[in-house]
Amino acid sequence: MAEDKGNGLQSALRRRLLMGLAGVPAIALMPRMSFAAGPATATVNTTGLAVTDTEVTVGILHSATGTMAISETGSIQAEKLAISQINEAGGVLGRKIKVIQEDGASDWPTFAEKAKKLLVNDHCAAVMGCWTSASRKAALPVFEQYNGLLYYPTFYEGLEQSKNVIYTGQEATQQILESLNWVAKEKGAKTFFFIGSDYIWPRTSNKIARKHIENVLKTKVVGEEYFPLGHTQFNSVINKLKLTKPDVIFTDVVGGSNVAFYKQLKAAGIDLSKQTLLTISVTEDEIDGIGGDNIAGAYSCMKYFQSLKNANNEKFVAAFHKMWGEKTVIGDVTQAAYLGPFLWKMAVEKAGSFDVDKVAAASAGIEFKEAPEGYVKIHPNHHLWSKTRVAKALPSGQFEVVYESPELIEPNPFPKGYQ
């Protein structure tokens, strides 16, 4: 059954791809631009950014050290890959991208500090960076004050929109609602149990999920539990699961807790091939630490999985492995981080200028047809139109996509009726 679905998916993808290829003018334009000499610096840079006749400076701001380095390394790698590809193809408006990388050190004020350095001292035309909501919240006022441009890759809780930020990951409603519909329809789920780490993203996501479950699906949430970040003992809550016997366990546990949770779940005899578990916090990156065997059978909903079968993705995965080693896995956020430099490049070329105001204004409506996830488009609210996919974890550590939303889902960071 899963195979059938896989084939159907593939052909659907192929169709979409062909459609994408039909609309080639944008692609055809790019190489031509790159060979032409760029327009004069004075005209494309009126606000004193670090743009010369041959170079443009872009910042990368992630944690290379500290607890978040685990997660953010993939984003750094993806952004560097994207930038090197852009440079090989001739750069942006005839200028090579020069990267200044700063380390946020998993420390939120450091993010604010380094964001300010990148904008005020280095005059970066754009910054690819931040990962956790906390780091974004810390850096956001800096970007707004100094009128910088941030490309933020992580799927996040929503409730935010800024002229100075392009959100290349999904906001919560995009990620969650489709997958809840899917699980209600496919698995006939009637009861849900939420387990999350105790901070804003899981709480907001669960709030949205609860509203959807209660008001739209007309089913029930039988439990909602939060654990401090770094918590490692889950036996009590697993007993609660055994008592309440929910149709679906819905999890957004993060970090080291994730590993402990799935190991203990498996040890307690909860068989994920029988018990449906839907998670919004496990990508290929996390499975590395959890161990494929421990989580095989769980469903994850994301917009991207490494195993996606389309030509864009195959090219992307090959290039990524060539640059960073065969063993590196690529998760949802890594792919979203890869989009950032390309979206910026296209917005700059559309605007014909590096000026942040013009680039931000030109961003709405930008389409990226070579996106590994298929096709994305920037919404006027600076989030991306994207598809949501549900995939089943395999013992190998990869995912098998079992469902893909038929249409692009509109980003809705301030969802009415879900607040």
Binding site: K242, L243, G256, D288
Partner: protein, 308 residues
């Protein structure tokens, strides 16, 4: 919340919840035992205790890789080898640290705290450099995975029982060692009166080094056992350190029995509260209760009259 369930459901849940509490108790005891020896017997605060545990976990990871590649036939039994190696590695590192660092600081207990904190930073970065910043997955032999079906509704996780077994063995071993062996008598003599112990011919330096090594070695075993239930990464050790210290302090520093009693009461409180309340709230209430009791009875649950 319990009204809607049948009696059999409830009774089996209580059994399983009891086991959950016991498993947590074992985990806490195992965590705290090494520290109780070091802190209780030597008065040294070892902030790098968590990193010694993670060293044990990494040894287990290496072992599992080695057996999978070279001795797949013996893979089911690798965990025992891994635990022995974890003990040796952490113990050896502990003795090295004692020699290089701790022995200069016996008169300044607060300074050992800072120095071992520095050590923990160095170890963390070393793990990150050697094993990479990501968490590593440790493959378990098949027999350690899954659960025992006691009745239709009661299931007990095997790895939890394994941890309980290991804890019991080690605790009994440590108790015998401390209270029934020559070495234990020497350790206790040194604790009670160092100059006198030296005067009667005990090599106090050697005793210190061995005690410290023993404590670290047990931390290594704990780390090795925890690969079954927790994560293994450069910073995983930090997850355990506060709990561990609280258990030891709550128990009354110089008493093994106190450590066990305190691990028991804290784990039962937490596991019961977790069942009736949310996890985060349960944790806060437990920690507050512990601190509250410590304010009223700062010497901990059990104390030993010692001349200092």
């Amino acid at each position: 919340m319990l009204g809607d369930y049948s009696l059999t459901d409830l009774s089996s849940i209580f059994v399983m919840q009891g086991f959950a509490g016991l498993i947590l108790f074992s985990v806490y005891t195992l965590m705290a035992l090494g520290l109780a020896i070091i802190f209780g017997q030597m008065g040294v605060i070892n902030m790098a205790h968590g990193e010694f545990m993670i060293l044990g976990a990494y040894m287990t990871y290496l072992c599992s890789g080695f057996f999978q590649t070279y001795l797949p036939a013996l893979f089911p039994a690798y965990f025992f080898v891994a635990m022995a190696l974890a003990f040796l590695a952490s113990g050896a590192l502990g003795m090295l640290v004692e020699w290089a660092l701790i022995r200069h600081l016996y008169k300044r207990p607060l300074d050992t705290l800072l120095a071992t904190w520095g050590l923990s930073l160095i170890l963390q970065q070393a793990y990150r450099t050697i094993f990479g910043p990501r968490e590593v997955g440790v493959e378990l032999p098949a027999w350690l995975i899954g659960s025992v079906q006691v009745t239709d509704t009661i299931e007990i996780p095997i790895n939890g029982m394994f941890v309980m077994g290991v804890t019991t063995l080690i605790t009994v071993g440590v108790a015998l060692l401390m209270y029934r062996s020559r070495f234990g008598a020497q350790v206790r003599a040194v604790v009670q009166n160092r100059p006198m112990a030296g005067a009667v011919g005990i090599d106090t330096e050697k005793v210190d080094r061995l005690t410290f090594g023993l404590g670290c070695g047990i931390a290594g075993i704990a780390g090795s056992a925890f690969t079954m239930v927790g994560s293994t990464g450069p910073t995983s050790g930090q997850l355990y350190i506060v709990d561990t210290f609280l258990i030891v302090v709550f128990g009354g520093a110089a008493s093994l029995l106190g450590t066990i009693a305190s691990a028991f009461s804290i784990s039962q409180t937490q596991s019961t509260l977790e069942f009736f309340l949310s996890g985060s709230t349960a944790k806060v209430i437990t920690l507050l209760a512990v601190v509250g009791i410590l304010m009223l009875r700062p010497q901990g649950l059990f104390t030993l009259k010692v001349r200092r």
